[in-house]
Amino acid sequence: GSSTPKQAASSAQNGKKITIGFSVSTQNNPFFVTMAKSVEEQAKKDGITVKIVDAQNDPAKQANDITDLIESKVDVLLINPVDSAAVSNSVLAANKAKIPVITIDRSSDKGDVVAHIASDNVKGGEMAADFIVKKLGEKANVAELEGLPGASATRERGEGFHKIADQKLTVVAKQAADFDRSKGLTVSENMLQANPDIKAIFAQNDEMALGAISAAKSANKQILIVGFDGTADGLKAIQDGTLAATVAQQPDQMGQIAVETAIKIAKGEKVDNKIAVPLKLMTKD
């Protein structure tokens, strides 16, 4: 289905410049930085105004941010939720203010969302595990670098990975490195120390994977490392052959699609309710 609230549509048709508000979960992560940047660039290209607010990974701050955006009467609200459950009330509030909502990357548990643009984190975790199985065969020893404990990406990517890995691989170590490259490095060093027979590492984002690469290098070990996100540094590492694969999320596409969808909505055009941005397993070949 699709919907186009009349208010927003009419204001756009009156010739007033369209303003969209974008609440992004964090800017402390290149993935979301890329997403925010592509939103900004696309908006510039299309000649519309965009207000970007950064929730700094805090759902409460996001709730505040969104009320502030509603307050400044944006035409369309783009939300990249910190957490699907926590964002629900904000979406409901936007519904009440008759501002159409688009969610990106993570969904909202409640409320009317005109369009949801995402790639599936759980699916991505599965893809990573499948890749390792394909490369190393079943029962290979793998280690997992988790993101920030309690964060939704941590949960979903881990869930997908374990769906496959618990059956077909041997997960010998699993430690949090908070999506941070330097923590990824030290934690990998320590995991490799304790388990010299690790054959592969799945890192829940590219930053940690890059840390793991440094660790493998300094331990002089050949290890299959798989990342997630497909950031610029991650892709470069694939070119260099140090990173075996990354589950690329294409945040720039997400941003572009989101802005285009928002404009359509503001102009009263129909849009799809679910827009999937495909995940791509990037490897050297």
Binding site: V53, D58, A60, N64, D83, G150
Partner: protein, 312 residues
């Protein structure tokens, strides 16, 4: 004497003047800032930090500090949410969570008072412990699917006489605590302990009790803030409250309370929380880029304290 009083008043007005200036600047730059609906938002947004900083004021007045506020908030909110999910009456669950928060705060106080551990390190430790327990308890997952009970949802989202309920709670708490600090022996002893612990001990003040009270009340208020947050988000987040300690401490210090203990006022903390809240709200409304927001926020805090620097 009169000149002294006038000087005192001006000094005490410092933070308020800062707040008013900030308010005016943002209002001039964007009129939607002063719309009633935004002011209501502002109050609601401020309430959580304000409640925590009220507690923090007590702690800082005794010469302590509490870094574990965010973790207490998260743990009590997770427990509350799971009670509700398990079918407990939401009001009872809120009440229970507040008791738990008070207890967690009291644990801080006991470690500090009887264990004689420096407050910074004691609460740094409990900060990680309580956060870890929250993650263990929730398994890292948010708890959602909470009640639709109107009292529960109203707790964070409702209005009373046009004022958001969280703001009402904040104001009522403020008046109670203001009164305790000003007019009761316990309040005066809070100042005394922070001013000179040794003398207070010799004089027969139960300094351990005063300290434990300060941390317990902080824990209690964190749980109240947690309940508001849970109701607003209609879910409990294991990562809720990360970094809240810094905002609370900033609010208290912006309000003119000395980190050395013994000197300060809770009105100041309210104003401090309003400054921080106004800044966050205003920077969003003015659409300042999130990278620059941090720079601006830091500079404004610095200016506000410099304006008011003679204390400390």
């Amino acid at each position: 004497m009169n000149a002294l009083k006038a000087k005192n008043i001006i000094r005490e007005m410092g933070p308020l003047i800062g707040l008013i200036l900030l308010f005016l600047v943002i209002a001039v730059l964007n009129d939607s800032f002063v719309e009633p609906s935004n002011l209501r938002n502002l109050l609601r947004q401020v309430s959580i930090n304000a409640l925590i900083s009220f507690g923090m004021t007590f702690v800082i007045l005794t010469g302590g500090i509490d870094l574990s506020v965010g973790s207490i908030l998260a743990l009590s909110s997770a427990l509350m949410a799971s009670f509700i999910v398990k079918g407990m009456n939401p009001e009872v669950a809120i009440f229970t969570a507040v008791i738990i928060g008070t207890f967690l705060g009291a644990v801080n106080g006991i470690v500090i008072a009887y264990g004689k551990v420096a407050p910074f390190i004691a609460t740094l430790a409990t900060m990680t412990i309580y956060r870890g327990l929250t993650l263990v308890y929730t398994n890292g997952n948010p708890i959602s699917g909470l009640s639709d009970d109107p009292i529960f949802t109203g707790f964070g989202q409702g209005y009373m006489a046009g004022i958001p309920v969280p703001a009402v709670i904040m104001l009522i708490t403020f008046f109670i605590l203001f009164f305790i600090l000003r007019k009761t022996p316990l309040g005066r002893q809070t100042y005394a302990v922070g001013g000179n612990e040794k003398v207070s001990y010799i004089a027969g003040i139960k300094i351990n009790m005063v300290k434990i009270f300060a941390y317990a009340i902080t824990g209690c208020l964190c749980a109240v803030a947690g309940a508001i947050l849970t109701s607003r988000l209609n879910s409990a987040q294991p990562t809720a409250g990360l970094g809240y300690e810094l905002d609370a401490i900033a609010a208290v210090v912006l309000g003119g309370t000395s980190l050395a203990g013994g000197k300060g006022r809770i009105v100041g903390s309210l104003i401090g929380a309003l400054i921080i809240g106004t800044l966050n709200n205003g920077l969003n409304i003015l659409n300042v880029s999130s990278f620059y927001q941090q720079v601006v926020k830091g500079i404004v805090i610095l200016l506000a304290v410099l304006m008011d620097r003679k204390k400390s």
